[in-house]
Amino acid sequence: MADDEIILADLSDDELVMQMHDDLYDGLKEEIEEGVNLLISRGWTPYDTLTKALVAGMTIVGADFRDGILFVPEVLLAANAMKGGMFILKPLLIATGAPRMGKMVIGTVKGDIHDIGKNLVGMMMEGAGFEVRDLGINNSVEKYLAALEEEKPDILGMSALLTTTMPYMKVVIDTMKEKGMREDYIVLVGGAPLNEEFSKAIGADAYCRDAAVAVETAKALVLRKHNQLTA
């Protein structure tokens, strides 16, 4: 491979960013870490590095996932590469007070072990600039509510992959209603057996077909919520 080896440090900023998009697509974690460090060393702000190199790259991955061109294994590798870059950027973003998109608490419902979809959503949301608290799998209504109290997020995300666990989302939403806190949060739901109609019937704000849609929906609803607050 020596002949066509690309030396990242030799690329111009524009070329490097394009290359990072490709490297994210291919799930090359070390290359992404190197690219992030290079951009920072060239005086890029952490926020520009995040949005122009990583988020823009993950948007391409997300679109191809949504369109059935990429599947879970490829997206997991891309998300893992993204995570490598985020690990470097996170402290820098906090230190520079970069703008934040919002905060999300996310978890798979009680009885359900599946966390692939939820992990993808979490990583894509981080990729889009959201702060994400991941509660893992098998979450009871008590665990969700405790995390909402603690984190005060904009969004609660729930995932279920089984017919036997999806109704539990309604248990959580009903409990939020009882406690008069349902309107304080945007509730997004997702998972293979779900659909739009189901999400409406259980009182969620939106059903997100996949991680890319989750990010688009989260951005739109957070914006609407902020507009309502300032109106």
Partner: protein
């Protein structure tokens, strides 16, 4: 060598009818969302007997045991990873009891669902651990007297292969289906044709293979056409959902009618499927309608995708994910690096 019960039945009949939903039926008996259905094998055995008996009475030749989540990885969620052997054995023994009392030959198939974990390098599951978990479950099902192991709802080829190896270790015949729920492919990106090819390469291939669950009956039939196009001599299995889940008055209800599932069963048979059943949302009344349709409808020609959508409704995605270019990135690429 004496043949297993399923192979014998397949040799004597053109098609066999499998069962319908497990979860949906148990919900209707009061199972709480989030609770593991496998606990009912010991806690509410009469409900599980009813589940099995209802399938048999509706005309099923094969039914699956209530052991879908009975592997250590899934039972661990409920701190019951120490009960794998017991819950599988009891779930299987209840099935044996119902099948033997039916007065005809009914095959008891030991349901084996996915671990829910992802294989290395993306995840943490290793081949060795997966084989161990499936083997432990298989031994429990064998103790309880199942005729065949029934691996279902798989997404990853690695996991399917691990289950095949575990079946060999337990010395049990097996069948295996995958769930094609993502733009015509499994969640991990496997196409119907790739599965048909993979199955033939296994050291311990299944008696029959096919698709279950996924997205409604139309999509499942499209997957079946993908298998049929490969022309495998191995018997095919179709276990599709009775439509799409809807939520009514605190209950999950699938929108596929018994009539629709009857149409689906006939289409599946005409496409060459030997073992036809339902999955989520398929209740005894659906099974009865399927059996009746299969018995009363003369065999027709291989259905086209147009026949399928005309009778069962539209597909959920434009393509079934097979074909030369769908797996390749569309955009122009820069130089690839190693």
């Amino acid at each position: 060598m004496s043949q297993d019960a399923l192979s014998k039945l397949l040799a004597s009949r053109d098609w066999l009818m499998a069962d319908g939903a497990t979860g949906t039926n148990l919900f209707n008996m009061g199972l709480e969302s989030g609770e593991p259905p496998e606990f009912w094998n010991t806690d509410k055995p009469d409900n599980i007997r009813s589940l099995y008996r209802n399938a048999v009475n509706a005309g099923s030749d094969i039914f699956l045991t209530n052991t879908f989540g009975g592997n250590a990885s899934r039972l661990k969620l409920h701190a019951a990873q120490g009960r794998v052997r017991e819950l599988n054995r009891v779930g299987a023994a209840l099935g044996r009891e119902i099948a033997d009392a039916s007065g005809r030959v009914v095959v008891v198939a030991g349901s084996v669902g996915p671990t829910g974990e992802i294989f290395e390098p993306m995840g943490t599951l290793t081949h060795r651990v997966a084989v161990e978990m499936f083997h432990e479950q298989a031994e429990g099902l064998k103790d309880g007297g199942v005729d065949v192991l029934w691996v279902e709802t798989m997404s990853a080829p690695e996991e399917y292969a691990a289950a095949a190896e575990a079946a060999a270790l337990a010395g049990m015949p097996w069948c295996g289906t995958m769930s094609f729920d993502t733009a015509g492919r499994t969640m991990m990106g496997m196409t119907s044709s790739a599965m048909a090819e993979m199955v033939e390469k296994l050291a311990n291939p299944p008696i029959a293979f096919g698709a279950n669950c996924g997205v409604g009956a139309s999509d499942l039939m499209r997957t079946v056409l993908g298998f049929a196009a490969i022309g495998s001599a191995r018997p095919l299995i179709a276990k599709g959902n009775a439509g799409i889940p809807k939520y009514h008055d605190g209950h999950i209800h699938y929108d596929g009618t018994p009539e629709l599932m009857g149409e689906y069963a006939v289409l599946a048979r005409d496409a060459g499927v030997r073992i036809i059943g339902g999955c989520c949302g398929t209740m005894p009344e659906h099974l009865a309608a399927m059996r009746k349709a299969l018995e009363n409808t003369p065999k027709g020609p291989l259905p086209t995708p147009e026949d399928i959508t005309a009778k069962l409704g539209a597909f959920s995605s434009a393509s079934d994910g097979t074909g030369d270019t769908s797996g390749d990135p569309k955009r122009e690429r820069r130089n690839r690096r190693g």
